[in-house]
Symmetry: C2
Subunit: 608 residues, 2 copies
Amino acid sequence: MTTLNPQIESKVDVLIIGAGPAGLMCANALAHAGVDVRIIDKRAVGVAAGQADGIQPRTIEVLQSYGLAEPLIRIGAHFPRASFWNPGPNGGIIRTQRTPSIFSETARYPQLITRHQGGIEALFHGSMDAKGLHVQRSTIPTAIVLSKDESELKDPKANPVKVTLKRLDLEEDDIEIVHAKFVLGADGAHSWVRNVLGIKLEGDNTDSIWGVLDVYPETNFPDSRNWTFIHSNHGTLMNIPREGDMMRYYIQLSEDPDFVDPKTGRVNKARANPGRLMETAAKIFQPYHLKMLGEPEWWTIYIIGQRVAQKFSVEDRIFIAGDACHTHSPKAGQGMNASMNDSHNIAWKLAYVLRGWADLSLLKTYESERLKFARDLIDFDRKWSKLFTGKPRTEENQDGISHEEFVGAFQTFSGFSSGVGVRYEPSAIVDKKHQSCATKLVIGERMIPHVFVQAADIRAVNIHDAMPSDTRFKVLVFVGNVTVAATLARVRALADKLDAPGSFLHKYGQGDYHKVFDILCVCAASKDEVDFIDVPQMLRPHWSKVLLDDTDMHAREGGGGFAAYGISPEAGAIVIVRPDGYVGMVAPYEHVEDISAYFGSFMVEKSG
Amino acid sequence: MTTLNPQIESKVDVLIIGAGPAGLMCANALAHAGVDVRIIDKRAVGVAAGQADGIQPRTIEVLQSYGLAEPLIRIGAHFPRASFWNPGPNGGIIRTQRTPSIFSETARYPQLITRHQGGIEALFHGSMDAKGLHVQRSTIPTAIVLSKDESELKDPKANPVKVTLKRLDLEEDDIEIVHAKFVLGADGAHSWVRNVLGIKLEGDNTDSIWGVLDVYPETNFPDSRNWTFIHSNHGTLMNIPREGDMMRYYIQLSEDPDFVDPKTGRVNKARANPGRLMETAAKIFQPYHLKMLGEPEWWTIYIIGQRVAQKFSVEDRIFIAGDACHTHSPKAGQGMNASMNDSHNIAWKLAYVLRGWADLSLLKTYESERLKFARDLIDFDRKWSKLFTGKPRTEENQDGISHEEFVGAFQTFSGFSSGVGVRYEPSAIVDKKHQSCATKLVIGERMIPHVFVQAADIRAVNIHDAMPSDTRFKVLVFVGNVTVAATLARVRALADKLDAPGSFLHKYGQGDYHKVFDILCVCAASKDEVDFIDVPQMLRPHWSKVLLDDTDMHAREGGGGFAAYGISPEAGAIVIVRPDGYVGMVAPYEHVEDISAYFGSFMVEKSG
């Protein structure tokens, strides 16, 4: 097997280092966008088993936009209810309150937890296979050199990043020099890319020590199948239902003197074992009984650390994403969610620049959007971990955390922990000027999912499913009741304006605007009155592209969409949704030229 | 490849002849039930393409109960709206009305149409693969002999059916003698099994000639994506939307003299071709234009025939199912639906008899239930085809079919054409005595789907998904609000009675009643008040088995289940659902002994 090859050189548009969730999300998106991409990983095989991860509602939306969510929803454990327990009068715990797990009203999906990261990775592998892209395993980078030639750095067609790759399973001389246009370092918390570029992490470890284990318990605790937070006089515990009858427990160990060196306050790992973790858990669960059946599926102990990289990019040619950028506590349920959303953010931007559709400057928005997110995430995690780790307020301990404070924070943080509250600040691709046209669609946040019906067949469809991650901008034209002559006249005038030679569609359409812009028309009209052919032809490139804000044939779904978005049916609005699903801008019919200005700030002009 | 083998003999519990939808449904069910089963087919390969088939809501429910529905729902074309067109004042067609496609309020799924029968068959193949069962292809039966020995016929352990099999791809002498306990002939409309057993078909061909073709049309007809019925002065046409932009047209040809021999009234196939069919269609669509883009995907012409076999069974040892039993017009959308539901009906009965759990007499209910269904189906099809084929009522033709008559029949027949209205008559396994305990759950009809929430985690679940086709009887214990002491006391008394040594669970439990009976407990109690552990232990064999008649955490689904079933929360009820999903009986708490009598009529007593 081991052969001595001459050193080879090659070129690639994007080289991704690391095939965890962050790297795979980007690789899959780029492969489906037709981008020349390679992905390498030091591991000889993928993750076959390992720690589970919670998947947030927003992450499921993103996976769904790539057609990958359904297996997860089917296989994952769901826990729609949260439950809060505190010390009772007799020393044992009593239930204080039960609430929904997710308070974000617009979340389309539940939160869930899946068997292991390997399951997520397998989804990407299957999807990449269909495009002929495979992870090159047992391969590491040994050197990375970025050209210092300014003209090269500014030339989108240049390959200014030189990466030396080495096969771990072959002889020493089997190396390859790759000349890449762009490199994404998605190589984990101990990122080689980050280190070699000298990017520092900001933040530190806390003194909060936790054990986590997955077990099949025998217990009479009634809220096992809920997302349960227990603040007891014996410490804090978080109970997460897993697949089948499995349970995950996060157990505070700082309280248990056996695990902690009293002098240093550091964890004494040698004394930890699943039996001891379960003993601690059993004390916390009193007066309910708790026993482990058989062996645990998995366990570990850890100290919470919260760190963010100083920057996510070097010269907009080398980027880092995922755990390479941020590490935080697992209890916030962020884990790989933040990682996948990092690379979902950058993938379409790389595709646009590589196709020559957008200026290199578009890539700056990756760092500006995701670094701010990561800092907010760490802030959130610090506050949440502090509340979580704190002692409960009791008669004796008036300085402790009150239930009201804790559950209040749980609700406040829900937009964050669900992922649907992420908001990007104004930038070249977030223009808040006409926010008043769609008062409830926050520009910079992800498009709100809502069920409409297709005008042609009255099939109910969530607007998210009409907006796949296909790298196109979605141009949602909200029109009123086109069966009213005056409204139709206005809509026809708008269609003419959109179809005029100088409109943004033609100006930035790269010769065939359907490649760049996906037009959908949403009518505030009754299914009994309107036909899909009533809408001007240019607003219905396909029969499925005309939606009605009405209920389905059995009045089970649909309706109320204009109200949910805060769009007036009389005035209408044009909503521009970015390829990653975030609202980029909104404009009234009268200001179509502002949409042109929006695209002009980062797109390259090229008409047909 | 061709070798001369000595004649071999073998034994099998069930031999299925024919691997179309009927045969595969039975083979898959039996394989998952652990039954010794073989399935043969004369075709060398499965159906790779071919005519599409509509799939009814009830068929999707059945497939879902085997875990097979999701790919179909995703891939199939949906058409929730029906549209009716008639001659207008100017001779062209005008729209008269639009209605839902399905009027059965309890239908859980839409009606849909899939690419081809091969897609359905592939689902079964995948599911059977998991159990190591594969279709033995290029194999035909050449002789079938049923023992005349009464004692052998009455011995469920005997193998009284001798079938000679021959491989079509090997030499003449490569035959095998199979001694089977039971044989299912699912070998299609020209069934060899039916013919060799001398079972006659009753019924005849009509003189109604139709063409059908799948095309990509260019048209300005606004209702293309609806299930559209056109009665024009140029004939009748049914328009069914297919996957993507494809359309299926059923076109009446009897009206077109070019296709019909004026003397015999028979179709002149030689003159038919897709272009000619489209010409006829285009005349019917006037004033809308219609043109075929490219070549048709598929086309044929046919004469409607409606026939039913005299009987479906010989000595309850050899059965026929599917097209071998009944042929009818494709326009009723029955097609393979009736076929799969035939063998879904018999599969669990064969499993029970073969396990020694039920008496051979149970198998009589296959013919009694499915022959009656087939006759009703043919009656329905005759009426429907007549209305469909008839000329529209116009000023000039007062004897024609009025729109009101047609759409009225469409609504009346919806329970039938959706498949959810199928009702089995009283028999050993349908006991209507206590119908008044659950006024809206019709005994003999399929259990009504409804969304409840799991008490343990408040996850919404359709009760259908809690009742998979796993061959177990579902014992649904509807209790009231168990947080009320008096109610709980009554429920505890019931649990004690159910768990008493002489109860039906123990009497017919075959040594471990959980193998035979799946117990679910449905409470009329609020999620905020009740814990799943409040229910007596024997009514919750697993935490997922306690359901609440309440909404989910976001009040999006659930609630109203007791009302939908017509069960009083104060009185409660016990509902016995057969393994095939049909309600077998209902009993009040006070008459648990009637449930014993029900099972006593066909089950074999065997306690632990």
